[in-house]
Symmetry: C2
Subunit: 446 residues, 2 copies
Amino acid sequence: MDTVKFEDVKETGLEVLPPSTSDGEEITFHGSIYRIRKMSDFAFVLIRTAREIVQTVYDKPVADEHGLNIDDYAEGDIVIVKGVTKHEERSKRGYDIVLYGMEKLGGITGEAPLVINKKQVDTSLSQLLDVRSYSLRNQYERSIFLIQEAIAKAFREHLQAEGFVEIHTPKIVSGNAEGGAEVFDLKYFDKDAFLSQSPQFYKQAMVGVFERVYEVGPVFRAEKHDTSRHLNEYTGLDFEMGFIKSYKDIINIEMGFFRHINEVLERDYPDAIKELNLKLPNVDEFAVITFTEAKELLKEKCKYNVKADVHDFEPEEEKKLCEWFKKNKKIDYVFVTEYPSDKRPFYAKDDDTNPGYSLSFDCLFRGLEITTGGQRINDYKEQVDKMVARGMNPDDFEDFLLIHKTGMPPHGGLGIGLERLTAQLIGFDNVRRCCLYPRDINRLRP
Amino acid sequence: MDTVKFEDVKETGLEVLPPSTSDGEEITFHGSIYRIRKMSDFAFVLIRTAREIVQTVYDKPVADEHGLNIDDYAEGDIVIVKGVTKHEERSKRGYDIVLYGMEKLGGITGEAPLVINKKQVDTSLSQLLDVRSYSLRNQYERSIFLIQEAIAKAFREHLQAEGFVEIHTPKIVSGNAEGGAEVFDLKYFDKDAFLSQSPQFYKQAMVGVFERVYEVGPVFRAEKHDTSRHLNEYTGLDFEMGFIKSYKDIINIEMGFFRHINEVLERDYPDAIKELNLKLPNVDEFAVITFTEAKELLKEKCKYNVKADVHDFEPEEEKKLCEWFKKNKKIDYVFVTEYPSDKRPFYAKDDDTNPGYSLSFDCLFRGLEITTGGQRINDYKEQVDKMVARGMNPDDFEDFLLIHKTGMPPHGGLGIGLERLTAQLIGFDNVRRCCLYPRDINRLRP
């Protein structure tokens, strides 16, 4: 038995090599052998550490002296590395590490399923995902998820600074916020339940409590189409805010978030930016354009054959629109506002001054929709009437309508798919690259 | 169409009243009317804002001058409030706000389902949860979730500082990490799937990638017992770390987290601490005691009738143990280590020097287990052998075993239930109080 005073607790922190040190200094660190490059009379041994690939030098005479033989080790071995520093101008840290000892803690049993120690893993997406736990050990591949971490961090930091409270809402639900058949059913003991398609009802309710709330959590969509931009489970970045003057207040918060992504990346993730050759988007200027204007622009400026009376965009239209703004205005983030009401959900607020249109918006980024948002109905009667007009039964939404019945301020919010935003930021054409373990209609493993 | 320069974007931030201002200054803010307390010749009108209850004064002569009649308003009304400041020593801000105008944006339709404007809501837990979206508008009730936010924030801040990477792992899974029947089944298109009982497999895999990882996300347990300390869906705080020397490295990180909870609460949440009358736990000293020693202590010092050969604790034993440490050592957090192996999961690493025991631990806090953690098996053969010894088929765990097969460092981690930790910190005897929308065997709504 032991009581431990906190002052005696040693937390280790992440092991990081010092940026410079004097000649002949002993250095110990851990990692796994990423690559052994044998030259004529020496070898480079690359060690994959928690964040970077560290190059060490195997100099046979030095190693021999300490009984170290590189032939006793293989790529993939988990090792504690001992070396001495040797001044070297051209090295990133100002020194080379000359090996004199290695202790093996583990390694590969049998054959490795893939070659991971090239710049990128040279295989099909399907194979990359099949052995995901291994392929992510590639330096390029794992850097993707540092970019993703940066985005989630920027989201939280920005919203906290703007006075939003973090919430955790249930994923097993009895009601279905987004409608449609695209929902996973579930037996919840003796009841029928669903997996949550979005925290919509709950985040609106929490506006009545905290005024401004956000959530980072999983979202489930049983969509049957197998496309490069859909996942059946993704991480939603959601926020909702009260006492707005218009949906533009929501867009303003999102612009601030986009700007903060760049700031966080530049502040905390320079190595990942470099590894992925990231081109940070323009966050000094944004486009805000109504749906009607956007269709006009596609017709007039892009000479696109826009179909009459279509109340949404074709993927090709989203692409053309973004291309136009990029080319003519150097703008990356394009907000399209005031969509036709019939394509938006039943909780979207309509524009009194423009019948048939809603106070909603999407954000397009490099050719793809990454956000859907808008002002919501806050008045009880207005919400009930809209439900009835859509053939819905308000009695099925008793829990949701309680908030309208007990008073809600004008409010609205948005949802962003983390994986899709990551993919667009890096420039991948398949969102699966930006999900650790993607779920699609054919993939439930690993 | 519009392009918006970021420099012109006005983000509003959360509306907060200035701490002091000169006499006769005009003030506008928004909220909902929490309570109207009519006195003989004036009234106090309490406004519930995003974070606090602000008292204003309705002085009839002043109000009359501006055509404001308090009888036109009701508790629950959503309002924009206009007032002038009046110097007042005893007021928290140094001034009273004398009302001269109110604009109503919404209000209660029909009757309110509960009285929420007392110190605490005077009703049954069941009713409190039935109209959760409304009952959370009570100042005491909503403060609980600021404490919860503080805990999650402390977790992320601490782990980020210690070099952990945030991950998002799938909740729809094909394998079952924690075993047993306590799992929710799900039809995933044409496949059989489950809801994740913990990110165990995935976080272990990510140690092979990032060395240190954490996740904050939902965890699903189909436990049929309806107790005050279980939820069927809760928010898990999970981390996992590589290259540990022993499970004590994990405990050390957790001690740092507990300490940081206090720091974050004191730094950012003084009002919530006050509202809930929170007694912060001792984070200068912790207890670390083996399972065997703990049973001995219960027998010898607590005179508890410890049953022979029981390889776990009864709830009553956990309570007694915590009481003893609190009373005799002023210690709140008690780590019990080296549990009998047969009560721990198949991925737990056994103690070579003490057969039958595992290198695992629980953390008890104020009478309840809030953490389970430990070192995991990193060797491939050792993991396969343990599975076989338990009658499991290693072929069913191909995806999981890939990490052992391709090399893993010694590693371990832990999981914490956010709601339970919040409840223990505040001192509630039912964990449901600390979940926005709890799910239990009888409750799937709201």
